[in-house]
């Protein structure tokens, strides 16, 4: 028999999340930061601590990360990833250099040691493709010319993410240099080999897995994803990488159906994942690091704007479009939290989770807000400076 208390608590949490999602939708903001806040409230030292549902939420959070990464891999085909890489490699390098560095340096300045600093670098590096995609649609920027630049950068971040997750999995494993290097070499070889297989034979695999029945398809794909994720974790390259690669492998009708069928499942478990991450943070640890989070937020918002601005200029986009491209990329979200989660699970600095939580809260809300005002602001600024030039000449 199931405990009524457990059902009541879980139901209460999920209904609470639904209400928060409605609230977020009213203001056209992403709901994920609110889920994180809810997690803070449910945790130890929070206003409404959970008694029985915590274990389930922890398991759900792990499922959530795997589904998030699987759907990320599903988003783009292997061919799109590799062709995007060729064409926009310079933008990808600038993105990595400008946005990884601030987090990495901040980690070192905080005296965390290089491993935790690499984690913080990843947290500030990766934009939230979920928030950005919704933003582009909401603001009707999908047809804009700079959107191609924004999407290319997101695509490259995906690819970097595969290697990066393998790297941090090795880093937290505490293996020696020789053993760690070997694991990493194995992991990267596996990633590259699977990319090649996905590009050449992805459609063969996808056709073999496809089934008319939705239930059969869901069971097939979820089952294989978990198997590969578990296998990857076993050989030390992180379950997330395995899930990502399964997503990448799928294409054609199997990918389209999987996208529709697993999207809602991902949404449910990703919400639980945010709650769990909030749960794992003691609210008392937030106030001391809030200043650092704000500072890091301001710096890495500026570096993302610069990244977008520079990449858009390379493609011949004018000033207003360059700013739109930059601001669209500012939001950080699910993947930054996923990285921090791997770090916390690996027993890194407890401050990492608090800082990542506060940072993502700021960026997930601040990014979309900035994107809503950037175009009028830049246009007004251009009109004023044009008027000044005219007066100067006259």
């Amino acid at each position: 028999m199931v405990e009524p208390a457990f059902l009541l608590e879980l139901g209460g949490v999920v209904v609470g999340l639904a209400l928060l999602a409605r609230l977020a939708a009213r203001y056209r903001l992403p709901a994920s930061p609110l889920f994180l806040l809810a997690g803070l409230a449910f945790g130890e030292g929070g206003v409404f601590p959970l008694l029985t549902a915590e274990e389930f939420i922890e398991l759900g959070a792990e499922v959530g990360v795997i589904l998030l990464l699987f759907m990320l891999g599903l988003e783009y085909s292997a061919a799109e990833l590799t062709s995007g890489l060729r064409r926009h490699a310079p933008a990808g390098v600038v993105d990595l250099a400008l946005n990884f560095t601030p987090g990495f340096v901040a980690g070192l300045l905080l005296g965390w040691g290089p491993v935790a600093a690499v984690f913080l670098g990843g947290i500030t590096y990766i934009s939230s493709s979920g928030i950005v995609a919704r933003l582009l649609d909401d603001l009707r920027w999908l047809g804009n010319r700079e959107t191609a630049v924004v999407i290319s950068i997101l695509v490259i971040e995906d690819l970097v993410m595969a290697g990066y997750l393998a790297l941090i999995a090795v880093l937290v494993s505490g293996a020696g240099i020789a053993e760690g290097a070997l694991t990493l070499a194995v992991a990267l070889t596996a990633v590259i080999a699977l990319l090649i297989v996905a590009q050449r034979w992805g459609h063969v695999v996808s056709d073999a897995l496809f089934h008319r029945s939705d239930q059969t398809l869901v069971l097939t794909i979820v089952g294989i994803t978990f198997l590969v994720a578990g296998l990857s974790e076993l050989v030390g390259i992180s379950a997330a990488v395995g899930a990502f690669l399964v997503g990448l492998m799928l294409s054609g009708p199997a990918a389209e159906r999987a996208h529709d069928l697993l999207g809602p499942l991902r949404d449910l478990f990703a919400a639980i994942f945010f709650v769990f991450f909030g749960l794992s943070i003691d609210p008392g640890t937030i106030p001391p690091i809030i200043g650092i989070a704000v500072l890091l937020g301001v710096v890495t918002a500026a570096t993302k704007v610069l990244t977008g601005w520079w990449s858009a200029r390379r493609e011949g986009i004018k000033t207003r479009g360059r700013f739109r491209a930059g601001v669209a990329l500012v939001a950080r979200g699910e993947f930054s939290i996923a990285i921090a989660g791997i770090g916390t699970a690996g027993g890194l600095e407890p401050e990492l989770a608090s800082l990542a939580g506060a940072y993502v809260l700021l960026m997930a809300v601040g990014g979309p807000l900035a994107a809503k005002v950037v175009d009028p602001v830049v246009r007004g600024w251009q009109t004023r400076s044009a008027a000044r030039t005219a007066i100067g000449r006259g």
Binding site: E75, Y76, S77, E80, L81, S83, G84, A133, R140, W141, L142, G143, N144, R145, E146, T147, A148, I151, S152, V155, E256, I317, K318, R320, G321, R324, D375, R379
Partner: protein, 161 residues
């Protein structure tokens, strides 16, 4: 014809755009889901879309038929002389055709085979440049323009649906 530039948008679809003779920029965003956005770019900011109209697959087909058929009629004479491989044919609508009593749009001729129906011959009166909503009747003869291969396909479609 104006130069159409194509931009792939991974995960989203493909964007096509070109400058009209009048100097406006016009674009089409073909989503992977089948949705089509008709885009008009802002004259003051050539990178941004000022008007975006979302069309579902059926709307897009209707628009394509509207734009396609009138242009083909107009260019027909010139095209016949200039383009090798362009075929013109007369196709009857049989009594047993599934499209007797339905419309040109229902056949999906342009989208499925690339073939345009440029006129309907009904009794003594030919109907030039029929729209996609135009009805078909058993005994009609369609005047069609396209590739020989497309026309062969259309013959099969008209017979079997």
């Amino acid at each position: 014809m104006a130069t159409v530039s194509e931009t792939p948008l991974p995960g989203l679809g493909m964007r096509f755009e070109f400058a009209t003779k009048g100097g406006s920029r016009l674009g089409v965003l073909q989503h992977q889901t089948g949705r089509v956005d008709l885009l008009i770019y802002d004259p003051h900011d050539p990178d941004s879309v000022s008007e975006s109209l979302a069309l579902d697959e059926e709307d897009a087909r209707t628009l394509a038929e509207l734009l396609g058929s009138s242009r083909v009629v107009e260019d027909l004479g010139r095209l016949r002389q200039r383009i090798e491989g362009l075929a013109i044919d007369w196709l009857p609508i049989g009594d047993d055709s599934p499209f007797a009593g339905r419309t040109i749009g229902d056949t999906g001729a342009r989208t499925r085979t690339g073939v345009s129906i440029v006129a309907i011959v009904r009794g003594e009166d030919p109907i030039p440049a029929p729209g996609p909503e135009h009805g078909l009747e058993a005994g009609d003869t369609l005047v069609v323009v396209g590739t020989p291969r497309g026309i062969e396909d259309l013959v099969v479609i008209l017979r079997t649906g």
